[in-house]
Structure formats: C-alpha cells, structure tokens
C-alpha cells in the first residue's frame, strides 16, 4: 500500500505528462456526491446576490479532478478554470437556463430542490452531450421529468450553522403507474433566524410539482413541472481588514443595526421565479428520440439598500468612520496626516468602534431622527431604503433530436429560441420616517441649476414625488431574443473516440426606457436601436485508448459569442446607448489530457488553454477624480486562461480510498482594454471613442492598464488530499484542502494614466519610476489562502420500512478564518480633488470576504 501511495505522489508531483479524460466522452449521470455537493453549496453561498460569488456546477465520472472540485472547493467559491459562470451552461430537460442578460445560471432557480437536481447529465468542456455543444466551463442538463425520479417518499431534516439553520424537505415521487402516469411533489423549507453571519436571516420555501404521462406504450411522453423558490433573506456586506480587526470578527456585517432593540438588516433580498416546463419526449424509433420543451418563467428579484441624500454615507464602514482615515498608518513620512491631532482622532474613532457593538452598526435611531428633522424643514428624505428590481419574463422553446446511427455512431441536433424581457427599476422601499422624496438626480444638482431639466430623472413627470412603493431613479426594460442551432456527431473508430460539434446563433438586444432622463432627453425614453449578433462555434473532442487503461484526450474549440446584454449598454440607468465597438467575443479553447485507470488507481492530468478577444466588461461606481458616480465600460479586452489539473484516486482497500487533487492555473487579461466612462452627474462620456475637450480636467482615459489583472474571487492554485472510508453503511470522509492565489476584483479607474497623474500631483512621489508607472501601485490586490480541513461522517440504516441515513458534514474543522474568498479593491482615490493626500489609503483597504470558520450540517433522511 505504501508503495502505491508513493507512486501516486510521485505521479502527481513529477509527471509533466498529461493524464486525463475518458474513453467515453459522453454525458454522464450524476454520482451520489451531487446531492451533498448541492447542499454544501447552496448552504454556503450568497446565491447570486452578486453573481460573481457563485461557483461552477461541474461534475464528471471520468475525470477525478472534475468530479470532485465543484463540491470540494465550494467553501471558497471555486470556479472551474476561473471562468465566468456564463461559460458554465445549465439546462433543464434540454432547455437552456442561463440568464439571458448576464449569461449566468442563477442558482436560486433550483434552490431547495435537492432531490430533483440529483438527476443530471453533464459533460466536461470537451465531452459531447445530447443537449448542446458543450460549454467551455462544462454543461449540465437536469432531468425534471417526474417519471425519472427515484420513487417513494423521502423526508429530510437538517440542522446547520450556515446561511440557514434548519431545513425540512419532503419529496414524493410515484413512478409510473399502470396507466402511464407519474407524479412528483416536493416541499422544502429553509430558514434561519440568524445565519452564520450576524444580522442575516433566511426564509425560503421551495416547491415542485410535476406530472408525466406516457402515451402509446412509451412512444410519447408529456411531462409538466412547475417549481419555485420564494425566498427572503438578508445579506452580508463587505468590509476592509481594518473594520474586521476593529470588530474582532472576520464575518462582521456592516449592513445591520439595532432598531428598537432588534437587529434590522438594510439589505433584504426577495427572490421568486415561478417556473413551468412542458416537455414532450417522442421516441420516434428505437434509435431516434426527439425531445421538445417549452419553458416559461417570471423572475422577481428585489434587493434593498440603504441610501442617502444631502448627507454622508450612513454605513458604519464609510471610510470617514475608519480610524485610519484620521491618521496615516501606512506612511511615516506623511507628516501632514500624522500630527498629534491626527493621532488623537485615530484613537477617538478606534475607541468608538471598539467600545460597543451598536457603534459599529447602522444607527437607525439617528437615521429616523434626522428624517424627522428634515421633515420639519420641508426637505427631502435624508436616509431611505431603496430597492433594486430585476424582474424578467423568459420564454424558451428547445428541441433536440438524438439518433443512434449504428453501434459506433451517434448524431444529435437541436434548436432553441428564447425571449427575455428584463425589467430593471428602482423603488422607494422605506422612507424611514421621512415625508417625501423627489425623483431628481442629486448627483447632477449643483452641476446644473435647480430648474435645469437635466437634473430630472424623468422629464415626463418632472419633480415627481416619490413615496414608498414608487419607482424612481431609473426604469427600463432590456429585451433579448436569442435563437440557436447546434449539432453533435459522435463516433467510435477503433481505439479512437471522437466527436465534432457546431452551433450557430442569432441574438438581438434592445433597451426600452420608461423614464425620460434629463441627461439624455432624446435618448432615454422608448426603445433604443436593436443590436444584432450572429455567432457560432465549432468544437472537436477526442480520446484515444492506448490500452492497459491508458487514454489520451485532445479537444479544440473556437467560437464567436455574442456579448451579454448586461455589459452591452454604456449607462443603461440613464440612456439607450450601446457600448462603443460592441463585438462578438472570440473564444479559442483547447485541452490535452491523459488518464490511467486500473483496478486500484484512477488518475487524470489535463492541461488547458483558452483565449478570448473582444471581451466587453462593465461596472459602475463612484469615482473621486470625476467627482461623480460613473458607468465604466471596458472593451477590446483579451484574456488567457491556462493551467494544469490533476487528480489521483487510489483504492487502498475495497473500503478505503486516498484521493489527491490539484490545479495550478492562470486567468488574466493579456492586453490593456479600451476604457470609456460616463458621469452620472453630467451625462458626459470620457475616454475611448470620445473626443476629449482639452482643459476640462478629464482626459487620457482611453486605456485601462489592466494587463495581467487576474480573474478574481476564486483560488488559482488549489490542492486537496482526501481520505474516504465507505463500509457497512458507514461513510467517513476527510479532506485537507489548500487554496492559494486568490485575487480581488481590480478597480479599472485606478489603472488609468490620468489617475496616476492626479496621484503624483497629490504628493505621492512613488507614482513614477522613470517614465513608467511604479508597478507596485497597479499590482492587483490579493486575498490570503490557506489550509482547510473538511470532514463528513454518515451512516445508512435499513429499517423494516424504508431506510434512514444520517450524515454530519463539518467544513473547516480547524476553524481557519484567514482564507479570503474574494473581494474588491476600492475605486476611490487616496487624494482629494484639491490634490492633497488623504490620510486614508483606499488602495490599501480592499473589501474582503472570508471563508466561514467551522460550520456544519446534520442531515437525517428517511426514505419509505
């Protein structure tokens, strides 16, 4: 055994050779791990509050590495190959489910449906599948047909100390009866009075109802499923290391505060997307099957936020509340910001932060008191809770034909057509005791006179009065239509297995403004022009069986990919403009792999390389040097993703396995992007594509120097050693995971020539090294990695009636609270408009999230 272990370690460490994939690159059924994986994942993630916090849904039976990482590394929100989730395709009964605007799958769509999502067919990037041309980040097709679920009743009760504390689930699947009917039902409740993070609660109900009828002796089947997951939950805010240190809590949450002695969270998400799916399966003959589905969904997503007007940001983490905004703790030479008074002020604010918990949370009492004060003066609300709404009506039709031509050849083809109307608007949720608010652009007020039409958010209803429930600020629809054709051909040719796939698509997108914004009076109300994109791609995947369990694989793909509507508009909250130079993204991807499989060893090594050009990205934030809230577009970007992945599964005894996994990868920009931004205070554009007016103070913004910026929020280096013992109904697993090279999301405006000039002019003498910018000041901020030990123990017991399984999963047993899962750099300047150094260093204070400390879940499932 020792020898085997040693061999395996040597193999993992020294083999520059490439292990890999599979002699069967077909889509596969889920392993038993999936449910656990899903539970782990949903219990720990933010569920797309900010979708970048999601993980990839990836699984495999052939690849040791891919089969484990999606689940194993989910505590740090691992993304497969660091790809954006839009490259990770999710389908249900063959219907594409990725959001049509962002391209990303919303995990909450299937939240709480753990039993239904066990039934999944998946394919790695260069494996073929029967429902699409496989995505670069993997593809998954959930099967929601009631007749294919495991029959019987199942009750699951779970207790956890994660986002939710309690989960109760009841599932019933009838299986087909003699008349060809099958029924399914599921009800799940998940809730927490207070989740792992202070001030967060969770309340979610999930339902699933399905019926399937087989006709004509199984030749036809119709199935109808409807499900939804109404959820109300509150969220955790990001904070700097300074704030976490002051609060002495890595999970300090600045979003809540005491009101009348109760914890009130300012950020509450309400999410419900009732969905319905009708699927017709037609077994045309023994070798030919046609699946056609019609899917409809109305998503309602609302997320609240505390905002302010005519005042300072009331969040406790507002930079002026931080002690280090008073005294420059970073630079001993900054005498101006290190006086005795500065030090006294640092102490004053330090003492304030640390003397009472209420001091470092939102002070609701003050917000109400202030609003009562402004009422008496006839002024608009100073503090209020607003809500961002993203509602979407989605209709999609998809059809796929699968034909087994002969024993060695298979062909599939399909089409999908979808339409999506995304409604984006902001409402007044709670005026916090204030009487009134007006629908005017307070950013523009001051730049323009009080009676200037340009300060109006809606010229069709100028100076509109905003009361609770009313829309204000912005209101627009994004219309996306997309059609796609695809095909796969799979063949076994002696020892060679290969497939080719192709797809072609057509996308249109358009904005339909519901407010006539004063900054764009002729270009904000009504429909924009329609952008059209033709895209498509081809893919080749192969595996060659060398005999004796050795297989080599190779894959190659190229595609044009329409930009996402979520990045296609320059400043959608204001006007109808598209981003300049909007183009299809060009994506090249390739992979080689080697796999060895014998009675005691299963090993894979893969190396991959992907390259994208014409990448378009979009962000919005407050930018000091423009003294405005801004909408930033980055276009013409090029990115490269490459790395090595390895996995070894050693069967030491029939009950005991040792598994080693690891990846070293990179995922980064390989050129400097074009940059354009619009100021929400004036409606003016700057940067690439716009002629700058000399002397207006803002120029040289054409380029964002983002070369070498890494993909953020996922470890680029990760490794795992796992031990598992499965015998006599017992399951014991222990995994030691190592994460490293976790980058934070970079601030594009801090990587512009003009910003560096302002920095240098403000007395930062380290800005330039000769004629070049000091590389240190544009280095991307990183988070701390580290070890995490996870374990689970479970037992299945067969009873007279049914079976019972008990499972306890503990993540981060050693309570390592220093692993950063991601975060973002601050986009603000460490200098003032009048070119003075600020004591506060925004560039040294990125916002971070940390992986939860020891957390666990106890699951008891009874099947009967």
């Amino acid at each position: 055994m020792q020898k085997k272990l040693k061999l395996a370690v040597i193999a993992l460490c020294y083999s520059p050779l490439v292990f890999a994939q599979t002699d069967n690159s077909q889509g596969q059924k889920a392993s038993a791990m999936t449910e656990q994986a899903f539970t782990f994942t949903e219990a720990q993630l933010g569920e797309d509050d900010d979708m970048s916090q999601n993980v990839s849904i990836i699984n495999s039976n052939n690849n040791v590495y891919a089969s484990e990482v999606g689940y194993l590394f989910s505590p740090v929100r691992f993304r497969y190959r660091a790809f954006n989730q839009k490259y990770n395709d999710v389908f249900i009964n063959g219907v594409p489910m990725n959001d049509m605007e962002s391209g990303q799958f919303r995990y909450s769509l299937v939240g709480g449906l753990n039993q239904q999502t066990r039934n999944v067919e998946y394919a790695l990037p260069f494996e073929s599948n029967g429902f699409s041309m496989s995505g670069m980040g993997g593809s998954n097709n959930y099967n929601f047909r009631p007749g294919s679920f495991a029959t019987g009743h199942r009750v699951t009760l779970s207790g956890a100390n994660r986002n939710y504390q309690l989960r109760a689930m009841y599932t019933y699947n009838s299986g087909f009866n003699n008349d060809g009917w099958a029924f399914s039902a599921n009800l799940t409740y998940r809730g927490a009075k207070e989740g792992y993070v202070e001030g967060t609660f969770y309340n979610a109900l999930s339902y699933f109802l399905g019926v399937q009828k087989m006709f004509d002796g199984g030749k036809h089947s119709l199935s109808f499923s409807t499900w939804g997951n109404p959820t109300e939950r509150s969220t955790q805010g990001p904070a700097t290391d300074e704030a976490l240190w002051l609060a002495n809590d890595k999970y300090y949450n600045p979003y809540w505060g005491y009101q009348n002695g109760k914890k009130r969270n300012s950020r509450i998400v309400n999410d419900f997307a009732p969905s319905a799916l009708l699927t017709w399966d037609w077994n045309i003959d023994d070798n030919t099957k046609l699946t056609t589905s019609l899917f409809g969904k109305y998503g309602m997503y609302k997320s609240t936020k505390l905002n302010y007007n005519n005042s300072d940001n009331p969040h406790p983490t507002y930079w002026k509340n931080m002690p280090s905004s008073r005294f420059n703790v970073w630079d001993e030479d900054d005498v101006t910001n290190r006086t005795d008074q500065n030090l006294a002020d640092w102490n004053e604010q330090y003492n304030y932060w640390t003397s009472s918990k209420g001091n470092r949370q939102i002070n609701w009492d003050r917000l109400y008191f202030s609003n009562q004060g402004v009422n008496a003066q006839g002024a608009d609300a100073m503090y209020f809770i607003q809500a961002k709404h993203n509602d979407a009506l989605t209709l999609t039709l998809a059809s796929a034909l699968n034909k087994q031509i002969d024993a060695n050849k298979k062909w599939s083809a399909g089409l999908s057509a979808g339409t999506n109307r995304g409604r984006h608007y902001q409402t007044m949720e709670d005026l916090l005791g204030a009487n009134i608010y007006h629908n005017i652009n307070t950013y523009a007020l001051g730049t323009y006179a009080i009676d200037d039409p340009r300060i109006q958010y809606d010229l069709n209803n100028p100076n509109g009065i905003v009361r609770e429930g009313d829309k204000f600020g912005y209101n627009y629809d994004i219309l996306v239509n997309r059609g796609q054709l695809w095909t796969n051909y799979v063949e076994n040719f002696g020892a060679l297995h290969y497939y080719v796939a192709a797809k072609a698509g057509y996308t249109t997108m358009q904005r339909d403004g519901k407010m006539r914004n004063g900054l764009a009076a002729d270009n904000s109300y009504g429909k924009s022009g329609k952008a059209e994109f033709f895209d498509g791609g081809v893919k080749f995947g192969s595996s060659l069986n060398l005999g004796r369990g050795n297989t080599v694989t190779f894959g190659l793909g190229y595609e044009l990919r329409a930009p996402q509507a979520s990045t296609a508009f320059a400043s959608p909250e204001i006007n109808n403009d598209f981003v300049l130079d909007l183009k299809n993204e060009r994506v090249f991807s390739t992979e080689v792999g080697y796999q060895h499989r014998n009675s005691w060893l299963h090993a894979n090594v893969n190396a991959y390389y992907s390259r994208m050009t014409n990448v378009t990205e979009w962000q919005n934030f407050f930018y000091d040097d423009a003294n405005s809230f801004t909408y930033f577009s980055l276009t013409g970007g090029k990115k490269a993703y490459y790395g090595v992945e390895a996995g070894v599964d050693i069967k030491v005894t029939s009950a005991f396995n040792v598994m080693l996994l690891g990846t070293i990868s990179d995922a980064k920009n390989i050129n400097n992007s074009h940059m354009t931004f619009m100021e929400s205070k004036s409606g003016e554009y700057h940067g690439y594509g716009y002629t700058e007016t000399p002397g207006n103070g803002i120029y040289d913004y054409n380029t964002c120097y983002n070369k070498d910026m890494r993909e953020s929020g996922t470890p680029l280096t990760a490794a795992s050693l796992g031990l598992s013992y499965h015998k006599g109904g017992w399951f014991i697993d222990l995994n030691c995971n190592w994460y490293d090279r976790i980058y934070l999301s970079y601030a594009p405006n801090m990587r512009a020539l003009k910003t560096w000039e302002a920095r240098a002019a403000s007395g930062y003498d380290d800005t330039w090294v000769g004629d070049c910018v000091n590389p240190e000041i544009i280095d991307q901020q990183k988070g701390h990695g580290g070890f995490m030990l996870d374990g689970s123990i479970g037992k299945s017991i067969y009873l007279k009636h049914g079976s019972l399984s008990i499972n306890l999963m503990i993540t981060n047993i050693l309570n390592n609270q220093n692993i950063c899962t991601g975060g973002f750099e601050q986009s603000r300047s460490s200098w003032t408009a009048s070119e003075n150094k600020r004591a506060y260093r925004f560039d040294r204070n990125p916002n971070k999230f940390y992986a939860y400390g020891t957390n666990g879940m106890l699951n008891i499932a009874y099947k009967f």
Binding site: A168, G191, N265
Partner: protein, 296 residues
C-alpha cells in the same frame, strides 16, 4: 388520488411547523419608528453649568482670534445658542453657526447632513473643554487643529465622533430674526462683535449678473458664462456686488444653487456674515434667502 392528497397534507404540515418566526430579525416589513424622545445625537448628560455668553467668550479669546492663532480651551466653558446656519443646501459645509443674544460663532464639524439634527432654530448647549478656539481670517472658529501641506496650523473641523461628545440638543426655539442692514452702512459694522451673525443685506446688485453667469462652478471644467475668468478659493467663488468692495457673496461650487444664474437688478440677501481679513463674506444658507425682484 389518495396519495396526492397525502402529499399535500404532509406538505402543509411541514410548511406550518417548519417556519421560523423571524419577527425579531428582519421579516418585519413595517418597522416602527423609534420614538426619538431621547435624542440619538449628542451627549444628553452634558449639564447646563458654566455657560458663558458668546460675546464674553469671544472677548476672552480675542487675542487668539484676531491673531489668527489657536488655543486649547482647557476649562469648563459652555455656550448656549440657537443654530442660524447649517449645510442645508450644501453652501455652508462642515460648519454650523450658533447665535445668542450677544453674538455668534462658527463651529467646525467634519460631517455631512448636519442640518437634519441641527436645523435653524435648534437650541444647543456646546461644551468647549478640550476643543480649540482660533481665528480664520479673524473669524472665530471652534474645532480641532489642522495642519496643512505647508505646516501651517489652524482650527478646523473636529471629527464626527468627537463632536457628538460636545453638545446637547436643547429643543426648538423661534429661529433668530436676521438683523437688517443697508449695504451703504456696512462700514459701520463692528466685525469682532457682529461676525458670524445672521443678517439681511438690502439694496445690493451683483456686479456680474447678466442672466448667464452663475453663483459658483469649477472653472476648470465649466464653460458657463464667465466661468473661465473665475478663481476657486477654498472650493468657493466670491461674487462682488456693485455697491461695496468690502462685501462679497461667497458660494461653494457644491452648493445646490451653485448653478443658478446670479439674479439681476437690486434685491436683498439673507445669510451668515463672516469676516475674512477685513472683507465681509456672506454665506447664503439656502436659495430662498435671495430676494430679488426676478425671484418673486
């Protein structure tokens, strides 16, 4: 069919027994407003002892003020005054002005939204011990020390946390009536006594008013009217009047009314009269303080 009924019964049971009562945390959609009877701003434990009149206080520190120096207030002195000026429209910023029967003074506070709890007419008690008094162009200011790039020290805004320990809200009073003054009499004002007080200056006309030129802007980025000929001084633009060259209307580029055109003709303006090295600088608190024929 029986089975389906069973499913729904089971489902209903889970629903009703399973839900966690979340009222204590966030499920309340309707949060009751705190009663606000105990002011959440300031230090309610400050006692009304050792109260000095503003005039007496300014006199006590006259030398410091007129020499544009600074001094730590190391004894228990309290002032009691009514707020006359605040940041309601962003022209006065990080400052409030309080006035009693004897005079007025500036208090410098590094915080926005002051007007919400320090509205015009709010009476406050200010505890001065451990704060600084100083002169800024001979205008008396209370705050803490600030050292600029060149090493010059002056009294400037105190940090927000410190301020909360130094005042107590006493209640709303009738707002201070501005004293009226004809611009031709401005030479008769005693700057030591009158600075910081609320005044209405009558019969003035803006030198640059032409219907286009605006109160204030950033000359670097603005092209409105005579913007390019203006100069920002401490973020503000000083506008001259025709009648007297020892009086200017000083407006911040961030004031809500900065973008409004200077009114034409003759009219009156109410605002805080501050002194800056011999020049009277009027700070308009809010746009409605400008009474010109065209505004009526």
């Amino acid at each position: 069919m029986k089975k389906i009924l069973y499913i729904f019964m089971a489902a209903a049971c889970i629903m009703f027994t399973g839900c966690i009562g979340g009222e204590d945390i966030g499920f309340d959609d309707d949060w009751n407003a705190p009663d606000g009877s105990n002011a959440p701003y300031g230090d309610n434990s400050i006692k009304e002892e050792n109260v000095m009149s503003i005039a007496a206080f300014k006199e006590k520190y006259e030398k410091t003020i007129t020499s544009n120096g600074y001094k730590l207030i190391d004894e228990d002195i309290k002032l009691k005054g009514i707020v006359t000026g605040n940041d309601i429209e962003g022209n006065i910023y990080s400052q409030i002005f309080i006035q009693d029967a004897t005079g007025a003074i500036t208090i410098c506070i590094e915080q926005g939204g002051l007007f919400s709890y320090l509205p015009e007419g709010q009476e406050i008690l200010v505890s001065l011990k451990d704060l600084y008094i100083g002169g800024y162009g001979t205008q008396p200011q209370i705050g803490t020390l600030y050292t600029n790039k060149n090493g010059n020290i002056s009294v400037s805004r105190m940090n927000r946390v410190r301020w909360q320990k130094h005042f107590k809200l006493l209640g709303m009073k009738t707002p201070v009536e501005p004293e009226e003054l004809d611009i031709t009499k401005i030479g008769t004002l005693d700057s030591k006594k009158e600075c910081g007080k609320l005044y209405t200056i009558k019969n003035i006309s803006f030198r640059d008013a032409n219907g286009v030129n605006i109160f204030a802007m950033d000359p670097e980025t603005s092209n409105v009217g005579d913007a390019k000929t203006q100069k920002l001084l401490g973020g503000c633009i000083n506008r001259n009047i025709k009648e007297n060259n020892k009086f200017v209307v000083r407006t911040s580029q961030y004031a809500d009314f900065a973008g409004m055109p200077l009114p034409q003709g003759k009219g009156s303006i109410t605002g805080i009269m501050t002194i800056y090295n011999g020049t009277w600088q009027m700070l308009i608190r809010k746009y409605e303080d400008i009474k010109f024929p065209e505004n009526n």
